[in-house]
Symmetry: C2
Subunit: 162 residues, 2 copies
């Protein structure tokens, strides 16, 4: 790509990104807890736009990214969002980032970094830290109740689909 | 607690846990993708029971634990599940574990360990590993588009609630 073409491409690319990140920010202004918004773009079209629904639905896991992914999948009727880009007003928490991997979204753009959100006393640092700990060192106690039945269920399911 | 009382308590406790984990396993038999089930117990009552809905809803993030938390919160009309116990047929993935923290569930019991699920080619090891990596080393590229507007939105929201 020549220098002029490259410059033109970058300008266009930056303008588009700015447009989409502003759309995510617009969504965040409607949020009822914290200020979080997200949009999902596929083939240069916004297929999903959402804000945080934690207090309106009384569900602590309806973060903007989670709701946006769910809506996008329902809209396109596919559980894979491969080829999609996510714009979010805030860097994803560990739940949302894992959800992004499960959904196969390819690229993420975010406005505020995780550290900025400490401004509004929203901090997910602790959850990231808990995930990195060994099981027995975590605050939430997790007990392994081994049971053969579930192994059987796994095998039955495997035999059914293969 | 005397030895006999302690023994009685442990027996009763184990019996209850076995009962509840079997209920989670029962749910997993109904699952449409993988074999995953979860129940949430509050004050010795099951307030939510779910299986995995990934393929029936076409949404890759509707794991059994996620659906169980959402249903439980909607049922009790509260975004905190403090005092609740989760029984799940399989050790939670990083998304579900983060969701457990957000919901404030206190204790988790699981039947199959994460390693067992490799039997059915369901492996979330990669996502845990990705979360532990530095941002620039992750497979999904994440770009920080700094924008003052969003900071303003945060501050506006903070001023509104304080």
């Amino acid at each position: 790509m020549g220098d002029i073409n490259k410059e033109y491409y970058n300008l266009k690319f930056n303008k588009l990104n700015k447009y989409y990140i502003n759309k995510a920010i617009e969504q965040s202004s409607n949020s009822d807890r914290g200020s979080f918004g997200a949009i999902i773009v596929k083939d240069n079209k916004i297929i999903s736009k959402c804000n945080n629904k934690v207090t309106s639905l009384n569900v602590p896991i309806t973060h903007a990214v989670i709701v946006a992914i769910r809506n996008a999948c329902e809209k396109i009727g596919n559980y894979s969002l491969e080829g999609c880009t996510l714009y979010t007003s805030r860097e994803p928490c560990s739940m949302c980032l894992s959800a992004i991997y499960w959904s196969r979204i390819n690229i993420v753009y975010y406005a505020n970094a995780r550290e900025d959100a400490s401004l509004i006393d929203f901090d997910d640092k602790e959850i990231y830290e808990e995930l990195f700990k060994k099981k027995d060192d975590r605050k939430i106690k997790m007990h392994h109740l081994y049971n053969n039945t579930i192994i059987d269920t796994f095998v039955m399911w495997k035999n059914k689909i293969h």
